[in-house]
């Protein structure tokens, strides 16, 4: 069912030997397949996290880098971008119905593709959709999968995947039994590679012949809540010890005056005080601000995993033994709300 396209679009011929080199049945799986998650409606773009993964895949030395994207012909302008960021070949599962995310259909098509090209490694950004698609695909391929990795390297053909582990401030190195080896990669950890204009590659279009489409009754963009905490330079972050409306008001005011944003630990999301997009940590976002001000955050392993990359951490907590103290450049033993209010007052004063 597949048709073939060249770099300039459909109709051109494949480079000779292309299919033979990466074909079925080869015992030595080779190459890295990367899902290129596409954002935006009428003018699609490859997501920032996918560019980061693409760059990392090119750097790994796992062989050729295959990109995989789903959607209609509107994606064609993105081939060049994928090549310029490190993809050698782009597989475009071309079906307008797939411009919306359909995990079952994506999985079927990706499984067919993976069985055909036999990659050694399959990578995706650990975005909500990446973390939904990857395990389904892993199951379909009987592949090992490591979620939300913060480090990747090749050791003698094996992909070594690094992620923070529970039970203490541990980092675990994980390897897969068998091939392909799959990982989702935490957004914001690896830099996106600079574009290499003019870099060429091969684009191959395939159709989707299945019918595993969801019945999407309604879809609406969630209104942005005033920015992305993973890109903020200053974060005023609230935890269980400051999980109140009063604290939130003071924090918003402080953040506004410092040119930053308010983020939080899970306690505030659970209480409905802030949306999940503001949550820092393993089940929230990973952040890397210049200054991270933690008010009333005790510092669970999950939370610290998301804020380790902050350049400077200042924590206020009543409990001198709060785990966050070990990750704070400056620790203030005191009442989070009172200090936050005073900080607000100090920033308001004209002096």
């Amino acid at each position: 069912m597949s048709d073939r396209c060249g770099a300039g679009g459909c109709g051109e011929r494949l480079p000779p030997g292309m299919l033979e080199a990466f074909d079925l049945g080869s015992p030595a799986a080779d190459g890295a397949l990367v899902w290129l998650e596409v954002t935006g409606g009428p003018e699609p773009e490859i997501s920032q996290s996918s560019l980061e993964v693409l760059g990392k895949a090119a750097e790994l030395g796992a062989g050729r880098v295959f990109g995989m994207m789903f959607g209609g012909s509107a994606l064609r302008p993105l081939y060049g971008e994928a090549f310029s960021r490190g993809a050698d070949t782009v597989y475009h599962i071309r079906d307008g119905r797939l411009s919306a995310f359909h995990p079952e259909a994506y999985c079927e098509a990706a499984r067919d593709l993976a069985e055909r090209i036999r990659p050694s490694v399959i990578l995706m950004g650990a975005t909500p959709r990446g973390r939904e698609l990857a395990p389904r695909l892993a199951s379909a391929l009987s592949a090992g999968l490591t979620a939300d990795c913060t480090g990747l390297r090749m050791e003698g053909g094996s992909l070594v995947m690094t992620r923070p582990a529970f039970g203490g401030d541990l980092i675990a190195d994980i390897v897969c039994e068998g091939r392909p080896q799959m990982a989702t990669v935490r957004p914001g950890v690896f830099p996106a590679p600079p574009p290499a204009p003019g870099r060429k590659g091969t684009a191959i279009c395939r159709g989707y012949g299945g019918s595993s489409l969801k019945d999407i009754a309604h879809s609406a963009p969630v209104p942005p809540d005033g920015g992305d905490i993973s890109r903020a330079k200053v974060l005023v972050s609230l935890g269980r010890g400051a999980a109140s409306r009063e604290a939130l008001e003071a924090a918003e005011s402080v953040a506004a005056r410092l040119g930053g944003m308010v983020s939080c630990s899970r306690a505030l999301v659970d209480r409905g005080l802030l949306p999940q997009s503001r949550q820092v940590g393993q089940s929230g976002r990973s952040v890397r601000p210049d200054v991270y001000l933690a008010f009333g955050i005790s510092g669970s392993v999950q939370h610290k995993a998301g804020m380790r990359l902050a350049k400077r951490v200042i924590a206020v907590n009543k409990d001198p033994d709060a785990p966050i103290r070990d990750d704070a450049d400056l620790f203030i033993e005191g009442d989070a709300l009172s200090v936050l209010r005073e900080l607000d007052k100090a920033l308001r004063s004209p002096l």
Binding site: D270, R271, G272, L273, D319, D321, D335
Partner: protein, 510 residues
């Protein structure tokens, strides 16, 4: 070293939770007993009195200075050791230790010193706790003793007084008095207090101090009374606490419960019946229909408020209790079920939870009412700028609670006042939160408050169950004890602090 710093007019050390503000020129901050003695020496020399101050969480201005210097005990905290005597384990603490700190230290694995040989090693960690639980979590233990603080769990465990083993004080002449329970008792109403110049014979007031209800009104007095009890609840007027020993209670796993009823009267009746049963709850707290409606109102705007399921529509009142999770729990529940059904409730019309994080939700709901009242009043302020609130603090014997409730309702209706009722129903101690919309309400409420204080006294209760007297409720001492009784209290003060250097203005003192 005794730290002395000038106090500006905006200093937080001039006020407490009562919103009352005083005046003082100097803040003295001792870090050891010698510093406290030095502060007393300076006060005697200069004639500038000291007002003893803890964490400033009081409700009646007890730590608000009336001139002179504020003596803040904040730097004298610390868990100093674990001891054991015939009654059991106790913890030795500095006056600025908070109950939260004490219980964290007892629960955690942090090393503790022994106050009596081997006690810290013998005490199974996590098995003991200090059981008195004032709503304010961050008050100092010195303040708790000085005000004989209590809380919901006073129902089962009594007030602070019952748990004080020993106090060490710096007296007004700079001498140190170290006294533990059993050391010194009064002969009749006369007790001998060792001071720097030799023992001082103190004649205790002749009134009958009411210990049948929660009561913080005035100095304790009883025939043959232990000297320790004179200092518990003396509001910093007789000596400055520099160390204390507190007995500990055994910790039990608990399950939190709420029972809903279709009317306030049903809940009152249920609580009265329950007192004769085997249920033996840790505390009994009450929310009336007005309180529940306030919570419903806030939740309409803010679904996350209180982190609880929606209150059942039929619920017009609620009774909270914690029960020990032991082999008798099922039997207790059966008995509670029978009593609840008698008052149109049932075990179906209830919630329970025993995991810590669920118990935290119960705790949050129980504590949400004062905050909800505050927010309700703050909301009304936008349209009625002068609005304000006032809370009563009166306890009566449980068998007179119906009469007190009736008096509350009658007084509120007669004076045309809006209110909600909640609180420590198991101790016959309900808080009436009166919402004041204008100056007329304020004046009416003051009259109603006095009427209700008189009623509480008439019913054998106390007009100041847990907030103390401080500088704001002195008129109740007159109502309770008359001019003669107040004068007897002043006699005690004069005997132990003739120069009047300690916390002037509190209780009966000048």
């Amino acid at each position: 070293m005794l730290r002395a710093t000038p106090l500006g007019p905006e200093s937080p050390y001039l006020g407490d939770e009562s919103k009352m503000t005083g005046s003082a020129s100097l803040l003295l901050s001792p870090e050891c007993e010698a510093d406290v003695i030095e502060a007393v020496r300076r006060a005697r020399e200069s004639g500038e009195p000291l007002t003893v101050s803890g964490m400033r969480t009081g409700m009646c201005g007890g730590c608000v200075p009336m001139g002179g210097a504020v003596l803040t005990m904040e730097r004298m905290g610390g868990i100093r050791g674990i001891g054991r005597d015939g009654r059991g384990f106790f913890v030795r603490v500095g006056p600025a230790a908070t109950i939260r700190e004490i219980n964290e230290a007892l629960r955690s694995g942090a090393p503790l010193a022994s106050a009596t040989p081997g006690a810290a090693e013998e005490m199974p960690r996590g098995a003991y706790f200090y059981p008195v639980d004032p709503t304010e979590l961050n008050g100092s233990i010195g303040g708790n003793i000085a005000t004989n603080a209590s809380g919901p769990r006073t129902l089962k465990y009594g007030p602070t007084r019952d748990w004080v083993r020993r106090v060490r004080l710096v007296m007004s002449d700079g001498s140190v008095l170290d006294v533990k329970r059993g050391d010194r008792r009064a002969r009749g109403r006369v007790v001998s207090v060792p001071m720097g110049g030799g023992p001082v014979e103190v004649r205790l007031p002749s009134y009958e101090f009411n210990t049948r209800v929660k009561n913080t009104a005035g100095l304790m007095s009883a025939d043959g009374m232990d000297l320790v009890d004179l200092f518990v609840g003396s509001e910093g007027t007789l000596g400055i606490i520099t160390e204390a020993d507190l007995y500990l209670a055994e910790r039990h796993p608990l399950i939190s419960n709420i029972f809903f009823f279709p009317s306030d009267a049903d809940a009152y009746a249920f609580v009265r019946d329950l007192r004769g049963s085997s249920a033996d709850p840790e505390f009994l707290e009450f929310l009336d229909s007005g309180s529940l409606d306030l919570i419903r109102g806030v939740r309409e705007r803010d679904r996350g408020f209180t982190s609880m399921p929606d209150l059942p529509e039929s619920a017009r009142s609620a009774v909270f209790m914690d029960l020990e999770m032991d082999g008798r729990l099922a039997g207790k529940y059966r008995e509670i079920g029978v009593l609840a059904e008698r008052r149109s409730g049932s075990l179906d019309d209830s919630w329970c939870g025993h995991e810590l994080r669920d118990r935290e939700r119960f705790f949050g709901l129980r504590h949400s009412v004062p905050r909800t009242v505050f927010e309700y009043v703050a909301g009304l302020k936008r349209t009625v700028p002068g609005i304000h609130k006032m809370a009563t603090d009166m306890s009566v014997p449980l068998d007179r609670l119906d009469e007190m409730v009736a008096a509350n309702e009658a007084a509120m209706d007669a004076h045309g006042l809006e209110r909600v009722t909640f609180g420590h129903i198991g101790n016959g101690h309900l808080h009436l939160e009166i919402i004041l919309k204008d100056m007329r309400d304020m004046e009416e409420a003051k009259i109603a408050y006095r009427e209700l204080a008189a009623k509480a006294i008439e019913l054998g209760g106390s007009p100041s169950a847990e907030h103390g007297i401080g500088k704001m409720k002195r008129e109740f001492l007159l109502m309770l004890y008359g001019e003669a009784g107040v004068e007897e209290m002043r006699e005690v003060k004069r005997a132990l602090d003739p120069a009047g250097v300690l916390s002037p203005g509190n209780m009966a003192g000048p």
